[in-house]
């Protein structure tokens, strides 16, 4: 592109700017250019793709800012501080102090940080697998995630299954806990994150509490369904075969409800795995803060 500059003495001169737009991280060798005629010399700059850069065109000119060097037009279009001119290859802006900056047209390509290419992802994975990430190996990171899922799920099952059994067996328990369980069940665990962070902080406890809450209601409902699904004739049959209440629980109701509980466990495990990533984000947020 060309620019027109003026100086205090009232003279104006034109010069050409050559900009090399290069791949990020690639070597940027400035193109050789001819300084050209007049007191305003031709310039060359290198700017990375998807970035913008300042162009101090006055630096190599014979009349610098000390004598009132001022760019007044780009490609013949007048420009003033704060203004901008669209060129064929991108936008030229002028800062309030009068320095030009150039933002090359992005074209149709997306910046890799928004959507990295598969090979970049693979390369990064290899990188993290061999060298670790933020000071811990990939296996340590995975181990912690697994630990949270397993502990959160186990606690959820430990509380949820007895609660579900109690709800399935006793009208009193069902009356008190059904509204709570049915209210909490559809609440997405992600929505609880702010509360959990406020109550338990961003440490390990908060993350496990979140996963516990994700597993709890599913397990309670599965256990309740398992108990209420027991065919009453099986219970009657066991009674008339002389089984006591405890024996009916142990030999009829529990085994009969296991399929439902395993289904619930599978669902809860899946939900827990789906939820472990947000707790992991907290850690990153903390690292960045």
């Amino acid at each position: 592109m060309e620019y027109t500059a003026s100086a205090d003495d009232g003279s104006t001169d034109d010069a050409t700017i050559t900009v090399l737009v290069h791949r990020l991280g690639a070597d940027d060798t400035l193109p050789e250019i001819d300084p050209g005629e007049g007191w305003a010399k031709n310039d060359a700059f290198a700017i990375g793709a998807w970035r913008s850069g300042l162009m101090r065109v006055d630096r190599n000119d014979e009349k610098g800012r000390d004598v009132g060097h001022q760019v007044i037009a780009v490609n013949g279009t007048p420009i003033a501080p704060g203004g901008q001119v669209q060129t064929e290859f991108g936008r030229v802006g002028m800062s309030p102090k009068g320095t030009l900056n150039f933002e090359p047209t992005k074209g149709w390509q997306m910046e890799p940080i928004w959507l990295p290419s598969p090979e970049a992802v693979m390369a990064r994975l290899k990188d993290i697998a061999s060298e670790g990430y933020r000071g811990s190996t990939l296996w340590q990171h995975l181990g912690f995630s697994l630990f949270r899922v397993v502990v959160g799920f186990a606690l959820g099952a430990l509380v949820g299954i007895p609660l579900g059994y109690a709800m399935g067996l006793s009208g009193w328990f069902r009356g008190w806990f059904d509204p709570i369980v049915e209210f909490m069940r559809p609440v997405p665990p992600l929505a609880l994150i702010p509360l959990v962070i406020i109550w338990a902080g961003i440490g390990e406890a908060g993350k496990i509490i979140l996963l516990f809450l994700a597993a709890l209601w599913i397990m309670a409902i599965a256990a309740r369904a398992g108990v209420s699904g027991v065919n009453i004739t099986k219970v009657h049959a066991a009674y008339s075969l002389g089984a006591s209440k405890f024996q009916i629980m142990r030999y009829v109701i529990v085994p009969n409800s296991l399929p439902e509980i395993f289904t619930g466990a599978r669902v809860a495990m899946g939900v827990c795995w789906g939820r472990w990533s947000p707790p992991n984000w907290w850690r990153r947020k903390r690292a960045q803060a």
Binding site: N231, K234, Y239, S240, L241, L258
Partner: protein, 268 residues
């Protein structure tokens, strides 16, 4: 005093809308030890309610039941029950199902093993004893239910339409088996059925019940159960009295059904 005594039994179910259903009214019955009673009646006549009260699953509104001199309160191993279907424990093998009663009493394998194997022999399931319940046919499953009930050595066996879900052929074989078990074990049996033929074949005594309110309509003493022991049941059905009785009872039940229909129409 041995035997089952049912005195002035009444059962009333209160409905949520404030009304009530009189399922049984003033039912009395005296059953000697070793008697085989079949109960017949149109649907809704309280047969199953009667059985559930005798089993102890329901408490009657009025009246009482005495077995061998003591009052019946709640379910107990002395009154075994055979259900139509769905009462076997699918998570146990055939043998574990049959030995359930003895195991619940705390008996060990050495104590119940022989008796259970003998029962499995009688019902013809020795080769299937380690199989899972779902691997058995419907008839086999009912044989497991019979054996499971007998393994507990109850005084009274209550059968709630035990053969109702079986196909005609299997059903005939099972009828012979029930008669055989009755003779061999000498148990008191109450059998509920929807089939008039079955009630005639398997009832030393036959009770016809009438609905709304459920009550005893008529009682018979029949020779067919004794005749049927060790004999082809098809031969028994050729007995001249069999056809007469069957027509008589069928007509009785038809009349009741029609009366119910008429009453429902009058209600409307």
């Amino acid at each position: 005093m041995s035997g089952l005594l049912i005195e002035n039994l009444s059962m009333r179910f209160d409905l949520p809308n404030g009304g009530h259903v009189q399922a049984l009214q003033d039912v009395s019955l005296d059953l000697a030890a070793g008697e085989l009673l079949s109960v017949l009646g149109p649907s809704g006549c309280g047969k199953t309610t009667l059985l559930n009260i005798v089993a102890g699953f329901l408490a009657p509104t009025d009246g009482q039941i005495t077995l061998n001199g003591h009052a019946v309160i709640g379910p107990d191993a002395e009154r075994g029950m055979v259900f139509q279907q769905g009462a076997l424990f699918e998570w146990m093998s055939v043998r574990e199902n049959v030995s359930f009663g003895p195991r619940m009493k705390g008996q060990r394998e050495q104590e119940y093993g022989q008796a259970v194997d003998h029962l499995l022999d009688i019902v013809g399931l020795q080769d299937f004893k380690e199989k899972a319940i779902y691997e058995l046919s419907g008839g086999m499953q009912q044989r497991v239910a019979l054996a499971r009930c007998l393994a507990n050595d109850p005084d009274v066996i209550l059968m709630d339409k035990p053969l109702g879900a079986l196909d005609a052929l299997t059903r005939e074989k099972m009828q012979s088996l029930v008669l055989k078990l009755w003779k061999e074990t000498g148990k008191t049996i109450i059998l509920i059925t929807h089939s008039v033929e079955e009630a005639l074949l398997l009832g030393e005594r036959l009770l016809v019940m009438a609905p709304r309110p459920g009550r005893i309509h008529r009682e018979y003493r029949l020779p067919f159960a004794d005749l049927g022991v060790g004999q082809d049941l098809r031969e028994v059905k050729k007995h001249p009295e069999f056809a007469t009785r069957r027509e008589e009872i069928l007509g009785m039940i038809w009349d009741m059904e029609e009366e119910i229909m008429g009453r429902s129409e009058a209600d409307q």
